[in-house]
């Protein structure tokens, strides 16, 4: 075994023999990798399939496009098929038209000679190809940049406000003693449990009454007072020693300065975790924006992609493609910050 592979497969067993737990470990890890990434890759592959191919059964792993050939005497390129002949050999023919169960075909090399083929004996000749129009069409016809900007605006503003208000509240709840503190805490934790989807109607009335309908702020504000954030930050701030705050008080710092210059920087790991979650949550938000935003100029990407879901038809090829587009930032976050996130949650987040 080379040094490199020994390094890769460093394992529990002493000596050279594999302990059974090593086998389980690697099966689990490799299987897990396939299971975790595979589905997303399947989605990406599907998003490059044309509408007809999406409905095809059995499906193909990769997106394919029909191969066509320019045949003399025909204006448009003709689709090519592999035809099985009676003797079992196969040839490649171009199809002129299909009538009922038989197809009129022609050999591209001898265009003058027509051949009738039963359609059961032919199979389309295809090559791996991307239906890029799934992406291009929506990006061109839709106000994509506008949607992108709205999504970014919502995500950034909501995250900033979330961080600010939640950290302020968490600071008060972790570092001050005042009457009613436990009551406030209980209230916040209790609402941790309420899924948005069950208070849609009253929440909608509130947003409507505050005039925030069809405004990006109507999307942002209801999501920023997240109990999760307050809870997470408070737990972290409890670990900041009170003596630091007292030192700052002796140093003539106001309470606001203590919050801003001492507590916030020290809570950075927890803030980072909350920020990442907030970005991902707000970016992925779907149901609520769909309900609040019904004017094109206010759409976020998630709402924009859903305009392809009609009453009687869903244009899956567009929806899949746009879903992949909306996933890109999340994947970027994942690629660039994964180490930070995973260690952050493990180290800072949950106590």
């Amino acid at each position: 075994m080379s040094a490199a592979s020994r390094f890769v497969f460093r394992r529990r067993g002493h000596g050279n023999r594999w302990h059974w737990t090593d086998v389980v470990t690697w099966i689990w890890l490799i299987g897990g990798t396939v299971l975790m990434f595979g589905p997303a890759l399947w989605l990406v592959a599907s998003s490059f399939k044309g509408p007809a191919q999406l409905a095809e059964f059995p499906p193909t792993l990769l997106p394919y496009t029909q191969i066509t050939a320019q045949v003399e005497g025909y204006d448009d390129p003709l689709p090519l098929f592999t035809v099985t002949q009676e003797d079992g050999s196969t040839t490649i023919l171009a199809e002129i038209r299909r009538i009922g169960t038989s197809a009129q075909m022609v050999d591209p090399d001898t265009p003058s000679e027509r051949i009738d083929v039963d359609i059961e004996n032919r199979a389309p000749l295809r090559e791996v190809g991307l239906a890029t129009e799934n992406y291009v069409e929506p990006l061109v016809t839709n106000d994509f940049l506008r949607f992108l900007w709205n999504s970014v605006f919502v995500t950034v503003m909501a995250t900033l406000i979330t961080l600010l208000t939640n950290s302020m509240a968490a600071f008060a709840l972790s570092k001050y003693r005042f009457a009613g503190r436990d009551a406030v805490m209980l209230l916040i934790v209790a609402t941790l449990m309420v899924p948005l989807s069950v208070i849609l109607v009253p929440l909608y009335s509130v947003v409507n009454a505050t005039g925030l309908l069809n405004s990006l702020w109507g999307v942002i504000l209801p999501t920023v007072a997240t109990p999760t954030g307050v809870f997470l930050l408070r737990q972290y701030m409890l670990t900041i020693p009170d003596e630091l705050l007292e030192a700052a008080r002796m140093d003539n710092a106001s309470e606001w300065q203590i919050y801003w210059r001492i507590v916030l920087p020290l809570a950075a790991p927890a803030l980072a975790v909350l920020a990442i979650f907030s970005v991902v949550w707000r970016w992925n938000d779907f149901l609520w924006p769909l309900i609040v935003l019904s004017r094109r100029e206010t759409y976020t990407l998630q709402v924009g992609l859903n305009t392809y879901a009609g009453e009687l038809n869903v244009q899956w090829h567009y929806i899949l493609a746009m879903t992949v587009v909306t996933m890109i930032p999340v994947v970027l976050v994942f690629v660039f910050l994964q180490r930070f996130i995973t260690t952050g949650i493990a180290g800072a987040g949950i106590k």
Partner: protein, 425 residues
Amino acid sequence: MKLATSLAALAVAGLGTAALAQDDPVELRMMWYSDGIEGEVMQDLLDRFEEQNPDIDVVLDNVAYQVIQEQLPIQLASGQGPDIARVTNLKEQAQHWLDLREHVEDPAYWDENFGNRFDWMREDGSDAIPGFLTQLTMVGGFANRTLFEQAGVEIPGDDATWDEWVEASDQVAQDQGLVAAFAVDRSGHRISGPNVSYGGDYIGEDGMPAEIDDGTMEYVTKLVNWTKEGKQLPEIWVSAAGTTYRSGADDFINAQIPFLYSGSWQVANLSTKIGDAFDWVAIGSPCGDVGCSGLAGGAALVGIKYTDHPEEVARVMDYLASEEVVREFSERTLFLPAHQGVVEAGGLDFQSEDPNVPPALERFVQASNETLPAADALPAWKWANAYYGALVTRISQAMAGEITLEEARELMNRDIADVVQNASQ
């Protein structure tokens, strides 16, 4: 002094808006959803309108159908909403539509060409012009002719019954090794034509919902049994709860079933996705004991009562309802027109190179004359949706084996009664 200042302020404000009104075009909002390319076509038509009418700016807000269905009602209830909307819940929300009678150029034109369906979208007893159907839909079936030919099975004729159709399709399916014989869209609306064909009638003598009758149960029983026998593709109905809509179109497109019962709106979709893979035909509705009824329906473009610019709304509507625009819209979207003049004139030049399309559309036009009165009454009936909802919810459960047909019948009656009772509170 104070009074003077506020008056001055008012005057300035007034001048301001007046000046604005002169400079800026009036902005109208049109809420629209798309099943296919109709959004693009509409945008095209509106662009042309704006060119001719620089004082009006129509913004087309393409939304998910979910928004029309779930969010628009709440907006309307609170006296808000867009200026114009494409809606499907025509009757129940009728109180919110703008009566265009005062505002359109020629009410007689509207009455003449759209009048027969105004009752679908206005409150009972009203004489309002609420809007017009962007498309007429007709429930009906499609058959995969190529599969029938390959199996050597004759396509049943126009007066064939449901049993005959299922029987024939089943032969095809078995011969060709297909997954199932047929599929009906998962929708209460879709099965109501067949229910009526078997003698069902939803509407009681007082105009309120009647109990589920034997005619309805007859078809429902057939459908449940076909599903349990595996003749109907099971996942369409069984694999969803509640009133979720599911269509069998994809399986038809994929030649997994030789017979699909859906509706005229699928023509464009089938044409795009099937392409040259096989030949398909529209077959109207199979027959029951009483007739061979489908069910008409449609989506309508309506003005919203709460608009600040009824005159401008009317101008947009006048334009879109004009004969040539309706004609162009239908030709490009492959939708059935609901405009009397266009229908009578005929000769629509549907923009499709697919030889399957024109005969299919013609067959649907023909099918719209075969509907039974009990079916014709449904689009203009306030409680139709309640009935549809109960049907789809409970029939699915019966198909899944969760409840018996008898239980389903009782539960449907109870569900409908609940809706009526809740609505009266």
